[in-house]
C-alpha cells in the first residue's frame, strides 16, 4: 500500500494506462510540461513524449473532436477538460458525435474516448470553476458517466474507463484532489470492482444515503453524526452515474425503507430526481418515507463567498435525513 492523494492516484492510474497500451494518448490544455493545472498529468509528457501526452490548442471542441478522429484511427485518447464549466464548447462533439457514433454506425464504430472533468465546488473559485454538469451527460445515451470519490477508486476507475470501449465522462471531485488514502498500486484493474458498480461504503439499517464524487465524504460524516443519534445509515457511493447500479441501491432501500440522495448539482432535473423516481417505482412497498434530495439550489453556481450556503453540507444532509424519519 502506498499513501497517495486522489490527484496522485489519478496520475499513477494514467501512467499505468500509458504503460499498458501504446494506443493510449493524453490530450488537453497544459497537460504536458505543466502537468495540468491540478498536476494530474504531472511528468507524463516527460516520460511518454509529446506524441502521447499532447498539449493542445486552447479549444475544447477541438480537443474532443480530434480525439474522436484519433479514436477512429484506433487510439484511446484521454482528454482533460480543465474545469467543469469549460466543457460546454465541446458539448456538441460530446453529445452529437462522441455519444452517437456507435449507434449511427450500427456498431461498426467504437469510440473509446475518456473525458476527464474536474468538477464541483468548495475551492473558492471564480465562476465556471465549480459546476456539476453530470446530469447533462447522464441524460445522453451512448455515454458512460462515472465519478470517483477517493484515491483508491480513482486509481482503478481511470484505468477501467480507459479500457472501456464506450466513451466515458470521468468526473473528478476537485475539492478532494488533495485527500490522501492508501492505494494498492500493484493491484490489477481487472480485479477491481466493475466500473458500473456502486459501492456500499458504510453499512446501516435505517436509511440509505446515496452520494458520489465530493459528496461521499460529506455523506460519511453525516452517517457518523447520525449514529450518535442512534440512527444507522447505509452510505452508497454510486460511482457510476450512467448506468446507475440500481440493483445495489434498491437492495439497500428495501432493507432500510428510507432513501436520501445528495449531490452538489441542482436538484431540479438532477441525478437525484431519476434515482427517486426509480426507487419509488421499484421499492414502493418498502418505503417508509418519500425519497428526499439534498443538493445544490436551482440557481447558477453562486460567487464563492456564498458557496458554503449553496453546497449541501453535513447539516443539510442530516436535515434531509431528519425529514425522512419524520414521516
Amino acid at each position: 500500500m502506498t499513501t497517495l492523494t486522489l490527484a496522485r492516484a489519478l496520475n499513477e492510474g494514467l501512467r499505468r494506462a500509458l504503460e499498458d497500451d501504446p494506443k493510449v494518448l493524453i490530450m488537453g490544455e497544459d497537460v504536458g510540461k505543466l502537468g495540468g493545472v491540478f498536476r494530474i498529468t504531472d511528468r507524463l509528457q516527460k516520460d511518454f513524449g509529446e506524441n502521447r501526452v499532447v498539449d493542445t490548442p486552447l479549444a475544447e471542441s477541438g480537443i474532443v473532436g480530434t480525439a474522436i478522429g484519433l479514436a477512429l484511427r484506433g487510439y484511446r485518447p484521454v482528454c482533460e477538460i480543465q474545469f467543469d464549466g469549460f466543457v460546454y464548447p465541446a458539448f456538441n462533439q460530446i453529445v452529437s458525435q462522441l455519444a452517437k457514433m456507435r449507434y449511427r454506425s450500427r456498431g461498426q464504430v467504437a469510440l473509446p474516448v475518456v473525458i476527464r472533468i474536474p468538477f464541483g465546488g468548495g475551492i473558492g473559485a471564480v465562476e465556471h470553476h465549480s459546476e456539476s454538469p453530470e446530469a447533462h451527460f447522464a441524460h445522453t445515451a451512448g455515454l458512460r458517466v462515472v465519478a470517483c470519490s477517493a484515491a483508491p477508486d480513482a486509481f482503478m476507475m481511470i484505468q477501467q474507463a480507459i479500457r472501456s470501449d464506450d466513451p466515458v465522462i470521468f468526473f473528478e471531485p476537485k475539492r478532494r484532489y488533495w485527500d490522501k488514502a492508501d492505494v494498492d498500486i500493484a493491484a490489477s484493474a481487472a480485479d477491481a470492482l466493475p466500473l458500473e458498480a456502486a459501492r456500499t461504503v458504510a453499512e446501516g439499517t435505517d436509511l440509505t444515503l446515496l452520494a458520489y464524487g465530493p459528496m461521499v465524504k460529506v455523506a460519511m460524516g453525516a452517517a457518523a453524526a447520525a449514529r450518535e443519534d442512534g440512527r444507522s445509515i447505509e452510505v452508497i457511493d454510486l460511482r457510476s452515474l450512467s448506468p446507475l447500479d440500481m440493483t445495489t441501491v434498491t437492495a439497500s432501500v428495501r432493507r432500510t425503507g428510507r432513501c436520501v440522495v445528495t449531490h452538489e448539482a441542482p436538484v431540479f432535473g438532477g441525478l437525484g430526481a431519476e434515482i427517486a423516481a426509480r426507487v419509488t417505482e421499484e421499492c414502493f412497498y418498502s418505503l417508509e418515507s418519500p425519497v428526499l434530495r439534498a443538493g445544490g439550489f436551482s440557481t447558477p453556481y453562486p460567487p464563492s463567498r456564498l458557496e458554503e450556503h449553496y453546497l449541501p453540507d453535513l447539516d443539510r444532509v442530516l436535515d434531509a435525513v431528519d425529514r425522512a424519519f419524520g414521516y
Binding site: 477541438g62 473532436g65 480530434t66 478522429g69 484519433l70 484511427r73 456538441n92 454506425s105 450500427r106 448506468p243
Partner: protein
C-alpha cells in the same frame, strides 16, 4: 463560344460588392470567381482543355470516359433520389446537382488508403469510395443513420451537424502521423480529406480544425465546396474575403479551383493529398461551384435567389463540358454516350426497386448498438417494449420471424401485420390500439 457572365449581375445589385475589385473573370465564370491566375481551371465550360503551369494533368481517353460515366451516374442517382422523395419513398434528400465535378474530381483523386470525411451531400464521393448507393437512400428513408462500414470504404459516415467532421478528419490525420503511415507521398501512404461547405467555414469546429491541422502539420486536405448558398444565406453572409484565402491566417496554403471542372478538381486534390503525404501539412481547396438544386427537398430556393443565376450556372455545367471535350477530342463516340445513358437508366431502375422494397427495421433494432455491451436501462426498456407490443391482439405469433422484439438480433422480426400496413417500427403501437 463565349459565355455571358452577366447572369449574376442582377444578384450583384442586391448584394454588397466584393471588397477587392474583381479582376477579369476566369473563363466562363462570374467575376467573383476571380482572375484566371486565381482560379485553377483545366477544362473550360465550353469543353476546351487549358493548361495550368502548376497542375499538369496527363489523362487518357479511357480515364476521361470513366470520369464522364461517374458524373452522369451520380447525377442520375441524385435525380432518382429526388423523385423517390417526391413519391414519399424518402423522407428527405440533399441534392448534389451541380457539384458532381467537385465530388468526382476530388473523390477520384483519393488513393485507396486515403480516408474521407463527408458532409451529408457527398453522394459522388461515396460513389467513388464504392459505397452502395442504396446505403445512402437508407439514411434518407429513415431506415438507418448510415449503414456502411467506414473502415471498409475509407469513407466515414455522413455528418449532419455542420463542420463537426473536420475535427474528426484532423484527429484521424494526427493518428496517421503517429502511425508513421504518411509514406513518401505516393498512394501507398495515407492522408485525409475533409469535406465541408461555404456555410461551414463560419463554424468554430472548422476553424479549430484549421488551427489543429496547422500547428500539428497534419496530413489533411480541407475540401470546401463553395456552392454559394448555405440554405438561403449567400456566401456574403459567411465571408468578406474569398474562402480559399482563409487558410493564410492559419498558416497553410489555400487554392481556388473551378469546382465544375472535374479535371482541375482531380489535379488539385491529387497534388494536395500528395503534399500531405509528403509531410507538407494541410491544404485548403475551395472548389468554386454552385448548388443548382434546392438545399434539400424541403427547401424552396425561389424564395431567396434569382432564376437568372441558375441559368448562368447551367452554362457552366460540370457534365456538359466533359462531353464537349470528349466529342471534340474524338475520345468518345455516340455509342459511348448511348451506353452511359443506358447504364444510368438501369441504375435508376435498380435504385427505385431497391428503395421501394427496403424493409423497415425491426422495433428491437432501435435498442441496439448504443453501448458496446449490455446496458441495464436500455435492455429493460427493450424488453418492456417487446412485452407491450406482444400484449396486442394482433401480436404476430406464428408469423415468420417470431415476436417483434423477442427474436434473436439480426433476424427479421417485423410483425407481418405492421409490414402489410407499411408501418412497423415505433409508429405501430398507436395504430394498433
Amino acid at each position: 463560344m463565349s459565355v455571358e457572365t452577366g447572369g449574376s449581375s442582377a444578384a450583384q445589385e442586391v448584394m454588397p460588392a466584393p471588397l477587392a475589385s474583381a479582376p477579369a473573370a476566369a473563363a466562363g465564370l462570374p467575376p467573383e470567381a476571380g482572375a484566371p491566375e486565381e482560379l485553377i481551371q483545366l477544362l473550360t465550360p465550353e469543353g476546351e482543355r487549358v493548361e495550368h503551369p502548376d497542375y499538369p494533368l496527363d489523362i487518357s481517353a479511357r480515364e476521361l470516359q470513366r470520369l464522364y460515366r461517374d458524373l452522369v451516374l451520380v447525377r442520375r442517382m441524385d435525380t432518382e433520389a429526388i423523385a423517390l422523395q417526391r413519391q414519399g419513398e424518402l423522407g428527405l434528400w440533399a441534392s448534389l446537382l451541380g457539384q458532381e465535378a467537385a465530388q468526382i474530381g476530388s473523390g477520384r483523386a483519393l488513393g485507396p488508403r486515403d480516408m474521407a470525411f463527408p458532409t451529408y451531400r457527398e453522394h459522388g464521393v461515396a460513389w467513388c469510395r464504392g459505397v452502395d448507393p442504396i446505403k445512402l437512400l437508407e439514411l434518407f428513408r429513415g431506415v438507418s443513420h448510415g449503414g456502411w462500414d467506414p473502415a471498409e470504404h475509407n469513407f466515414h459516415l455522413y455528418t449532419i451537424v455542420i463542420g463537426s467532421q473536420t475535427l474528426h478528419a484532423t484527429g484521424y490525420a494526427m493518428g496517421i502521423q503517429r502511425d508513421g503511415a504518411t509514406g513518401d507521398g505516393g498512394e501507398t501512404g495515407e492522408a485525409v480529406i475533409a469535406y465541408f461547405g461555404d456555410g461551414a467555414t463560419s463554424q468554430g469546429d472548422v476553424n479549430e480544425s484549421f488551427v489543429w491541422a496547422s500547428v500539428f502539420n497534419a496530413p489533411v486536405v480541407f475540401f470546401c465546396q463553395n456552392n454559394q448558398w448555405a440554405i438561403s444565406e449567400p456566401l456574403e453572409r459567411q465571408s468578406r474575403i474569398p474562402l480559399y484565402q482563409r487558410s493564410r491566417g492559419f498558416g497553410f496554403p489555400g487554392l481556388r479551383v473551378d469546382g465544375n471542372d472535374v479535371l482541375a478538381c482531380l489535379a488539385v486534390t491529387r497534388a494536395a493529398l500528395r503534399a500531405a503525404r509528403e509531410g507538407q501539412g494541410p491544404t485548403l481547396i475551395e472548389a468554386f461551384t454552385y448548388r443548382m438544386g434546392a438545399h434539400t427537398t424541403t427547401d424552396d430556393p425561389t424564395r431567396y435567389r434569382l432564376a437568372g443565376d441558375l441559368e448562368a450556372w447551367k452554362l457552366r455545367d460540370p457534365i456538359e463540358r466533359v462531353k464537349a471535350y470528349l466529342v471534340r477530342s474524338g475520345a468518345a463516340d455516340t455509342s459511348f454516350f448511348d451506353e452511359v445513358d443506358a447504364e444510368a437508366g438501369r441504375l435508376g431502375a435498380w435504385l427505385r426497386e431497391a428503395c421501394r422494397s427496403m424493409p423497415d427495421p425491426s422495433p428491437r433494432s432501435g435498442f441496439e448498438h448504443v453501448y458496446a455491451g449490455p446496458h441495464p436501462v436500455i435492455d429493460a426498456e427493450r424488453d418492456a417494449y417487446a412485452a407491450y407490443l406482444d400484449s396486442f391482439d394482433d401480436a404476430p405469433d406464428g408469423t415468420p420471424g417470431g415476436p417483434p422484439c423477442g427474436g434473436p438480433p439480426g433476424e427479421p422480426s417485423l410483425p407481418a401485420v405492421a409490414q402489410a400496413r407499411g408501418t412497423g417500427g415505433f409508429g405501430r403501437s398507436g395504430e394498433a390500439r
